[in-house]
Amino acid sequence: MTTRQKPELLAPAGNLEKLKFAIHYGADAVYIGGRQFGLRSKAGNFTFDEMREGVAFANKYGAKVYVATNIIAHNENLEGAHEYFKNLYEVGVSAVIAADPALIQSCREAAPDLEIHISTQASIANWRTAQFWKNEGIPRVVLAREVSVEEIREMKEKVDIEIEAFIHGAMCISYSGRCVLSNHMTSRDANRGGCAQSCRWKYDLFEDGNDDDISLSEQADEKYTMSAQDLSMVEHLPDLIEAGVDSLKIEGRMKSIHYVATVVNVYRKIIDTYFEDPDHYQIDPAWIDEIWKAAQRSLSTAFYYNEPTDKDQLFGKPDRIPKYDFAGLVLDYDQQTQIATIQQRNSFGVGDEVEFFGPHFYHFKQTITELWDEQGESIDRAKHAMMTTKIKVDQPLKYYDMMRKQK
């Protein structure tokens, strides 16, 4: 029987809508990016007003909002940091996630009561480094993705600090922050949000002194690449919980609403099921099935058990993974008529096999038999983006439930 507290389930939120879905589907906390100092310059990213709205929404659910300020700053980026952290504090976010001590210091000076978490970009991979940050007054560190479950256990035994660890999503194949391929190959600064993901490109590998000028890649008919499979701890979550991880983190501020809702839903279910009865915990194959519906690459446990091999990398053509579209968002449901009002997010129509799902791992599948537009006119397909439709459904639905369709 575990005596542990439930760890936090921490989800990415690229914009306000994703924030609401992540929290509604069971995240205890979300991390977002603002307009400055964050590494995902292409994610939606929040204005201070949007942050305020996000914090208010989160508060209703008892959830927290963290802001990533995780760039590695150059001199010219330091300006404005004080004001930015002051604003974040006033907006009411619960913590910032930072890697650069310059920004950590600015935050402390400008907003002494704003909590700081050390980002994975700082590559914290041993207990003494965790201890260093503990002594600095830092309450939480996000670990490097290169640590094993055993190493985490040892860190937690030796240091009284909160540990946040990734459980799902895309990964740098390098130590995060220690790769400047993008800077060199595209002049885009990876550590300031410009990463071009050059590690996932195709290369030719040559052996020195091989004078016939033919690469090994050509001989083997297989390009050289360094693309990591995505991380997933869906089958092993209790190991991380028992090692003492305080916050279980899902990657993906650039990912879709469908992705965030699906992945959060699964891990929420796993955590809750485990804590209901840890001794009789069993994996439900439906959880794994569900995770694959949002998967974009093959999945791996990365460094958590063994050093990753070629089986944890992506070579050649991408693996074939069933792809699902987020087809519609449930806005309303009429119990009397069993008709749901659905906002179209991807084309669907009569005859399509669709799956509805919602928080608490609620699921059912059905074929669409009757479909109407907003005026009540019977239609064959919902072709227009964001159009409001009505569908006769087999089981009850609620606002925030979602409809997906296999591509």
Binding site: A73, A99, A102, R128, W133, H184, G193, L205, S215, P308
Partner: protein, 308 residues
């Protein structure tokens, strides 16, 4: 007026022979290490060899810095205290490290080994470096992805010595994974760890990124060799304290020649800047003459804009 500024010309070495050769060629300090604790060391020095190198260099009036710049995992921490204590008894002139565990360790072990802070890509602004200075660094190596203007601004805003690389390839990627071995396994070829390798970008025939594995994972090096011989005036004018020649994956004879060229160029500039201007293109030519065929020369990010 007497010029008090004297930059330290540093060079990496792969073995004792090279330590001696590069010192005789004009290096003020030698940088070396063992891959158990050091990232991208040029050759593995045992503790006995570190002691020999230290004694020899000190007799010559030169300095020695030991690379302890791995990203530490719990396992490293078991042997690291003994390693550091031994280095202190040898009287080495400093260690080069970039993991925050080092501050704690030096404190706890009561060691006075001077620390050169070098966290590779993370040494990018003066406020960060001042933060680490308050935690105990004595010197800092700046990241290679900085403009020379940024380097100069940092120099003006910190009160401790700073170092930059002026020559050789730079590291542009480090993974803990065995990314070469994994590929060989994947294509079912035997992997020979002694074999040197490089990768090319797809459809870019003139690219050449050396790639190798060591105890700390896989490292990829830059497409071009940094060659700052013609811009030393700006670096020396700014009184940058340490100038590093990284000789990794280069022959001893190449490194010897490079060190002697930079030695001459630095001394010439300090004695008479005008003579430096007259002679600099000749030095560049001398480097070009010995440059390996596949290795292009450039000035890294010192004069290059980055977007993000």
């Amino acid at each position: 007026m007497m010029c008090l500024y004297k930059p330290e010309l540093q060079a990496t070495a792969k073995d004792l022979d090279e330590v001696k050769a590069l010192t005789k060629a004009g290096a003020d300090a030698i940088v070396l290490g063992n891959q158990q604790f050091g990232n991208r060391v040029c050759g593995d020095f045992t503790l006995d060899q570190v002691k020999s190198a230290t004694d020899w260099l000190h007799l010559e009036g030169k300095r020695i810095y030991i690379m302890v710049n791995a990203i530490f995992h719990n396992d490293h921490l078991k042997q690291l205290p003994d390693y550091l204590k031994t280095l202190e008894t040898f009287g080495v002139d400093g260690i080069i490290a970039g993991d925050q565990a080092i501050f704690q360790l030096l404190d706890e072990l009561n060691l006075t080994l001077p620390l050169t802070w070098n966290p590779a890509t993370l040494s990018t602004n003066y406020q960060t470096l001042n933060f680490w200075h308050q935690r105990g660094l004595k010197r800092a190596t700046l990241s290679n992805e900085l403009s020379l203007d940024a380097v100069i601004e940092i120099k003006q805003k910190v009160a401790f010595p700073i170092e930059i690389q002026v020559h050789g390839m730079t590291c542009i990627f480090q993974s803990k994974r065995k990314l070469i071995r994994n590929y060989y396994n994947h294509i079912k070829e035997d992997y020979n760890p002694e074999q040197m390798r490089f990768i090319k970008e797809d459809k870019k025939d003139d690219t050449h990124y050396p790639i190798f594995e060591d105890g700390n994972g896989t490292h990829i090096m830059s497409n071009e060799d940094l060659v700052m011989i013609e811009y030393l005036d700006q670096i020396l004018e700014a009184e940058i304290d340490g100038l590093l020649i990284n000789g990794i994956l280069k022959t001893k004879s190449y490194n010897e020649k490079i060190v002697s060229i930079y030695r001459e160029a630095i001394d010439t500039y300090l004695n008479n800047p005008r003579h430096y201007q007259i002679k600099k293109s000749g030095w560049r030519q001398a480097i070009e003459d010995i440059q390996p065929e596949q290795r292009a020369m450039n000035t890294g990010f010192y004069f290059k804009e980055q977007i993000y």
